[in-house]
C-alpha cells in the first residue's frame, strides 16, 4: 500500500508526470481574472474567495484522468487488481497520492495568489483552512469519476462532465466558509458541512470506485 503511494508520488514528480501543471494552471487562471474584471481592487477583493475556489477546483480536474488511465494502458491496473492488496485500498492510496501532488500544493500556493486578488489580510488563514479541508474531497470524488471512465478512449471530457456537478457541494460550502471568514462572520456551519463532505467521500467513495473498476476491467 505504502509502496503504491510512494510509486504514484514518484511518478507524478518525475518528468512527464504532470506535477506542477495544476499549479501553473491555477496561477494562470488567477492572474487572468484581474485582466477580465478590471483593476478595481474592491471588486477583486469581494470575488477573490470564489475565484480562488473555482480555480483550485478546475486545476484539480486537470490531472484526474491520469489517475487510472495510465495504469490501465500499461497493464498495471490488471496486475494490481490480481495482487494481494484490496482494490479499495489501491483506490484510496491513488486518491491520497493525487491529493498530495495536487490538492496540497494548490492549498499551499493559494495565499500567494490571494495577494494578486487583493484579498483582505484576515482571510488568508481561512483560505488555507477551507482549501485544506475541501481539496481531499475533490481528489476522492475525482478518483471515483476516473474509475467510472477507466478504459474509455479519450474519457477526459466525459470525466469532467461527470465530476464537476459532484464538486458543487464542496464548492458551495468551501467558498461560503472562506467568504464568511474573510468578512469576520461565524464559519462553524459551512466548515462542519465541508468537513463532513470530505470525511464521507474519503470513507465511502473508494468502495464505489473499486467496484466500478472491477466492472470496467472485465
Amino acid at each position: 500500500m505504502i509502496a503504491l503511494l510512494i510509486r504514484d508520488i514518484r511518478l507524478a514528480v518525475r518528468a512527464g508526470g504532470g506535477f506542477g501543471l495544476a499549479l501553473a494552471f491555477f496561477l494562470i487562471v488567477t492572474v487572468l481574472v484581474p485582466f477580465g474584471v478590471g483593476p478595481q481592487s474592491d471588486i477583486l477583493a469581494r470575488i477573490a474567495p470564489g475565484i480562488l475556489w473555482v480555480g483550485a477546483l478546475l486545476a484539480c480536474l486537470l490531472s484526474l484522468d491520469r489517475i487510472f488511465a495510465l495504469d490501465f494502458e500499461d497493464g498495471s491496473l490488471d496486475l494490481l487488481a490480481t495482487a494481494p492488496v484490496p482494490l479499495e485500498g489501491v483506490v484510496a492510496m491513488k486518491a491520497l497520492a493525487h491529493w498530495l501532488t495536487t490538492g496540497l500544493p494548490l492549498t499551499l500556493a493559494a495565499p500567494g495568489l490571494g495577494v494578486l486578488l487583493n484579498m483582505p489580510s484576515g482571510a488568508y488563514l481561512w483560505l488555507l483552512v477551507t482549501l485544506g479541508l475541501g481539496t481531499p474531497a475533490l481528489s476522492y470524488i475525482g478518483t471515483f469519476g476516473a474509475a467510472l471512465t477507466v478504459g474509455l478512449k479519450r474519457g477526459g471530457l466525459l470525466l469532467s462532465i461527470l465530476v464537476l456537478p459532484l464538486y458543487v457541494p464542496t464548492l458551495i460550502f468551501g467558498a461560503e466558509a472562506l467568504r464568511r471568514g474573510a468578512d469576520g462572520l461565524a464559519t462553524q456551519t459551512p466548515l462542519l458541512m465541508l468537513a463532513g463532505i470530505t470525511l464521507a467521500t474519503v470513507a465511502l467513495l473508494p468502495f464505489v470506485a473499486a467496484s466500478a473498476i472491477r466492472i470496467n476491467l472485465r
Binding site: 503504491l4 496486475l79 494490481l80
Partner: protein, 211 residues
C-alpha cells in the same frame, strides 16, 4: 493438485466463447494452452486470475496462489528497472529482487529507466516480476512475445526451476520452450451458438445476424 477447473464457461464482451472447460494442473507441471486466435486463451486466463467471473463451473486452487502475467507488462517508463521490480515485490509483501534480476539477466540494466529498454528487455523485466511475486501458479498470456532465442532460453530455464521448486505454470504460447509440456487444445471447448449456455446468456448481442 494445484489447480482444478471443472466444466467452466466464460464469455468475452457478453458473448460466451468457451464452455465445458475441464482440466487439472499438478504441482511441478507446465500446461500450454493452444488454439487459434480468438478461441479464448486470454479470456480463460483472465477468468482464472479473477478479473472476470466465470459464467458457470468451478475453479479450485489454494488461496492467493496465482500470479497473472498479461500481454502488457505493467511497467512504468519513468521508473528504473529495479524500482519497477521493487514496487511489485513490495505489493506482494516481499523485498528481495536480486534473484529475479539475475535469472532474467537484468543486472546490468537495473539503473536504466524502463522507457529506454528495448521491447525484449521490457518483456524480460515483465517476466522477472513473476519471480518476485512468490506465487506458486503462474498464469501467463503469450509470455515469449518479442523475446529473442537467448531470452526464451532464460525464460524456459526460469519455468523449469519454478516447476522443480513445486510451482506450476499455465501459459498461452505457440513457441517451443525447449522442454516437454502437456498441451491443452481449446478448440473442442468452443461455445457453439444454440448450445444451452449460449441460449441462456445471450441477449441482443447473441441475436445479431451475421449474414
Amino acid at each position: 493438485m494445484d489447480l482444478t477447473v471443472t466444466d467452466m464457461a466464460c464469455a468475452r464482451g457478453g458473448v460466451p466463447i468457451l464452455e465445458g472447460v475441464s482440466f487439472t494442473l499438478a504441482r511441478g507441471e507446465t500446461l500450454l494452452l493452444r488454439g487459434p486466435n480468438g478461441i479464448g486463451k486470454t479470456t480463460l486466463l483472465r477468468t482464472l486470475a479473477g478479473l472476470q467471473p466465470a459464467l458457470e463451473g468451478a475453479v479450485s486452487m489454494p488461496a492467493e496462489a496465482l500470479a497473472y502475467g498479461a500481454h502488457a507488462d505493467g511497467l512504468k517508463g519513468a521508473l528504473t528497472v529495479s524500482e519497477n521490480l521493487r514496487f511489485w515485490a513490495r505489493i506482494y509483501g516481499r523485498r528481495d529482487i536480486g534473484p529475479a534480476l539475475r535469472d532474467f539477466n537484468l543486472e546490468e540494466l537495473k539503473n536504466r529507466p524502463a522507457h529506454s529498454l528495448s521491447a525484449g528487455q521490457k518483456r524480460r523485466l515483465g517476466l522477472a516480476r513473476l519471480l518476485v511475486t512468490g506465487r506458486r501458479i503462474w498464469a501467463l498470456d503469450e509470455p515469449t512475445v518479442s523475446l529473442d532465442s537467448a531470452s526464451v532460453a532464460l525464460f524456459g530455464a526460469a519455468i523449469k526451476s519454478h516447476c522443480a521448486a513445486g510451482g506450476s505454470a499455465l501459459m498461452a504460447t505457440h513457441i517451443d520452450l525447449g522442454f516437454k509440456a502437456r498441451v491443452l487444445d481449446l478448440v473442442p471447448f468452443r461455445a457453439r451458438p444454440g448450445s444451452r449456455r449460449a441460449l441462456t446468456t445471450s441477449g441482443f448481442d447473441g441475436d445479431e445476424d451475421f449474414t
